[in-house]
């Protein structure tokens, strides 16, 4: 046995380790520290027995308390579901108009609709529902297929030009250029006339010449004064809002080879409650009628 050195000041043995003349005293651990250490070990053993701890090949040990974070989550979700049930029942039972007039219920529906919108709709319409070229802005007061509560509900449920749904909203504008119904000059003239309908800068002569072409080819759907027709989703041309752009080139492109947006029918994917909530939300974005 190696003879241990005693420290003069404290009378304690040193560990025998020395670093540049500094020696470490071999003091015992403080009692409180030792107890904390032992209690931690005991606690650890109890914890391992009580809670899921040891990973086995396919699963971990369960622990005698039977705790599971998944079950806890499920409980929390159930509790939330139960707390919502009162409102969900009301939403199911009441008409959209009644929901809207009940401020507390409308607030609940708005919040639910907002989160459903973020999950299902924001990919095309944007997180703030402001849309982009080809994807309508839902904040404004311009509606292709109508902005009343029932119109919005129908659109969400059955989609637009969504072929798997028999009741989908459907319309198709002829490709006046692609199918050679109108020639390039006529299309240019009609474009100028359309610009004039919304009081944008246009070539006056072209517009005058395009008026007749418009009356013959376009007015049936878009209306004599460009007021549009919601029955067939024909956009209003006389306002300042444009789905595919407001430049003459955009308009010519749309007349020649029109783009047609497709929106899925959500009636199959979402339950009726969620669609009602979405309707309330979209309607309250500011443009609802």
């Amino acid at each position: 046995m190696v003879k241990r050195e005693l420290d003069e000041v404290s009378g304690t043995e040193t560990t025998g380790h020395e670093w540049d003349g500094i020696k470490e005293l071999d003091n015992p651990m403080p009692r409180w520290w030792l107890w904390a250490f032992i209690i931690s070990i005991v606690w650890g053993v109890i914890y391992m027995a009580a809670y899921p701890a040891w990973p086995l090949i396919t699963e971990a040990t369960k622990g005698f308390l039977g705790y599971s974070s998944r079950a806890e989550l499920a409980d929390t979700m159930n509790a939330v579901q139960v707390s919502r049930q009162k409102y969900i029942n009301s939403i199911n039972a009441l008409s959209l108009e009644e929901i809207r007039n009940d401020s507390e219920l409308a607030r609940f529906a708005y919040a639910g609709g907002k989160s459903a919108f973020a999950v299902n709709c924001s990919q095309c319409h944007g997180s703030g529902a402001a849309g982009s070229a080809g994807y309508p802005n839902l904040n404004d007061d311009n509606w292709l297929w109508g902005g009343s509560l029932t119109d919005i509900q129908t659109t969400i449920s059955h989609g637009i030009r969504f072929e798997q749904d028999d009741d989908t909203r459907f319309s198709e504008m002829p490709a006046f250029g692609g199918d050679e119904i109108l020639d390039r000059t006529q299309i240019g003239q009609v474009a100028d006339y359309v610009l004039s309908l919304s009081k944008r800068q246009h070539d006056f002569e072209n517009a005058t010449a395009g008026a007749k072409t418009y009356a013959d080819n376009c007015a049936a759907c878009h209306g004599d004064t460009g007021q549009g027709d919601r029955e067939q989703g024909a956009p209003q041309l006389s306002n300042v809002l444009w789905l595919y752009g407001n430049e003459k080139a955009d308009i010519i492109a749309q007349i020649s080879r029109p783009k047609h947006g497709v929106m899925p029918a959500w009636g199959e994917r979402l339950d009726a409650t969620t669609i009602k909530q979405l309707t309330i939300y979209v309607h309250a974005l500011g443009g609802g009628e």
Binding site: S127, G128, A129, A130, N139, D141, V240, G286, G287, G288
Partner: protein
């Protein structure tokens, strides 16, 4: 023991004891020595009993005081409502965003402690600190059950017996009970006391209430029953800070060694005693000390200036017919003057100097500021958040619409109607989200008592009325009863020109 000293023993109880931190044996490697403070009696002890009674009474009674705030707010005078986020203090109710009142009070309390310390020393530690008060309370219980110092030492050293077991169990049970009602009183500050009291007894209170009581009970029991002076010496930062606050003009508990030394155990009327000081080395000052120190070693960090040694020493001085105040409250200047034989110059005026004046000034300024802020405090608060997504919406007729979330806070204790209107841009139209029509002139908003109402508003304007990308306008919220107005400057956005 000599004949002389035994004769003085008849008058004064002399004890062989050593300060726990005695200089001769001060070591970093010793474990705690048990301290068995003897009961002192005298004016400071009496004062401490009173302070204890008053502080404990304040602590236990406060949550039960009632203050009528009407039907929409709690009627508890002092209540920290963590759920709703309100702090009720008699006529003041503070919302979370007004926490600066608390900060102001804390600044005042901090500077107040500086002021007290720079004049009368560690009075906080010695008299009012909860640690001191509860240790005193626990010691009182200990003395009641186990007897005074000698009996307790005897009991502690004695073998386990039925009597020892009974006394120990009784003491700890009562300590735990005191701890329990200490923790129990604490939670009453955070909920309606009468309701919570019933809930606690019937087992219906929240688990957080029970666990808080448990933690507070344990802290009280451990701190006041076992750790005692170690909390002050090792855990609390305040003694160190207070040490830096003291100077030559602060009153501290002082052993007047110029009078006491050399100590002598001989009777004062003997020849030997004629050359010795007044201290008869009876160690009464040491045995009464809750910190277990010897004040005759001079000023030391452990001393909480509870002045019990003054009481003990004065009792002895009276018995042996010497002037009292061998140990006294004195400033360092007094002490120096005494040593030199000069007259003492300390009067109440000597406590007025640069530092104390500055501390007082800070306190007064802070107090005035708080009173001022409280006096001009509005009972209605408005906050407007502009919708960021989308920032603005172009409408089919070419006008622009912005969305705002308007929040109106009603700090009154009655349901209040407010009218909300806008101005600053010509032709502004206002509509509640989801409503069918525009609001004609103003929106009447009913805000719950002691609460807030949120409304999502759409404001639209013609582009002709807008001259920049950002246009300022105002939301005007008016209390319909008092006509108190809050004007909120908001910004109306349109596309970059």
């Amino acid at each position: 023991m000599t004949q002389d000293s035994s004769s003085i023993q008849n008058v004064v109880d002399r004890v062989e004891v050593e300060a726990v931190n005695s200089k001769a044996k001060r070591s970093l490697y010793t474990s705690r020595k048990k301290i068995f403070p003897k009961r002192a009696s005298g004016s400071f002890r009496l004062f401490k009993w009173w302070v204890m009674a008053v502080t404990l009474a304040i602590y236990y009674v406060t949550p039960w005081l009632r203050w009528d705030r009407g039907e929409f707010a709690p009627n508890q005078a002092v209540l920290v409502d963590l759920d709703v986020g309100r702090f009720y203090f008699f006529f003041i109710t503070i919302w979370p965003q007004e926490l600066y009142y608390i900060a102001g009070l804390l600044i005042m309390a901090g500077v107040g402690l500086f002021l007290v310390t720079s004049t009368v020393g560690r009075a906080w530690c010695g008299y009012t600190c909860p640690q001191t008060v509860w240790v005193d309370l626990y010691l009182w219980i200990e003395r009641w059950i186990e007897g005074d110092r000698n009996a307790r030492i005897k009991l502690d050293n004695g073998a386990w017996s039925g009597e020892k077991l009974f006394k120990r169990i009784a003491k700890h049970v009562i300590w735990l009970f005191v701890g329990l009602i200490t923790g129990g009183a604490w939670v009453f500050y955070f909920a309606d006391a009468p309701t919570l009291a019933v809930d606690l007894v019937t087992g219906k209170a929240s688990s957080i209430a029970y666990s808080t009581i448990g933690v507070m009970t344990a802290i009280t029991y451990v701190f006041a029953g076992f750790m005692r002076e170690q909390v002050c010496t090792y855990m609390c930062p305040w003694p160190r800070i207070q040490g830096a606050m003291l100077d030559d003009r602060s009153l501290v508990v002082t052993y007047n060694d110029w009078r006491g030394e050399p100590r002598s155990r001989h009777q004062k009327n003997t020849d030997i005693a004629a050359q010795s000081g007044d201290c008869i080395d009876c160690n009464q000052c040491v045995v009464v000390c809750p910190m277990g120190i010897d004040i005759r070693d001079g000023q030391q960090m452990e001393c909480i200036t509870c002045a019990l040694c003054i009481d003990a020493c004065n009792g002895v001085m009276e018995k042996i017919g010497r002037p009292i105040n061998l140990i006294s409250y004195a400033t360092l200047n007094d002490y120096k003057a005494n040593v030199k034989g000069d007259t003492i110059t300390t009067t109440w005026r000597s406590f007025i100097h640069g530092r104390t004046v500055i501390y007082s000034a800070i306190m007064v300024i802070a107090a005035l500021l708080l009173v001022y802020v409280l006096a001009i405090r509005s009972l209605v608060d408005v906050s407007v958040l502009h919708n960021r997504n989308p920032v603005y919406t172009l409408l089919s007729d070419g006008s622009i619409r912005n969305g705002y979330v308007v929040k109106v806070l009603n700090k009154k204790f009655n349901i209040q109607q407010f009218s909300v209107s806008v101005s600053g841009i010509t032709g502004l139209k206002m509509r509640i989200a989801g409503a069918k029509t525009d609001i004609q002139t103003e929106l009447v908003l009913e805000v719950p008592a002691n609460g807030l109402e949120t409304v999502q508003l759409y404001i639209s304007a013609k582009t002709s009325a807008l001259n920049a990308e950002q246009n300022s306008f105002q939301f005007i919220v008016e209390d319909r009863d008092t006509s108190e107005k809050v004007i909120y400057d908001a910004v109306f956005y349109q596309a970059k020109k």
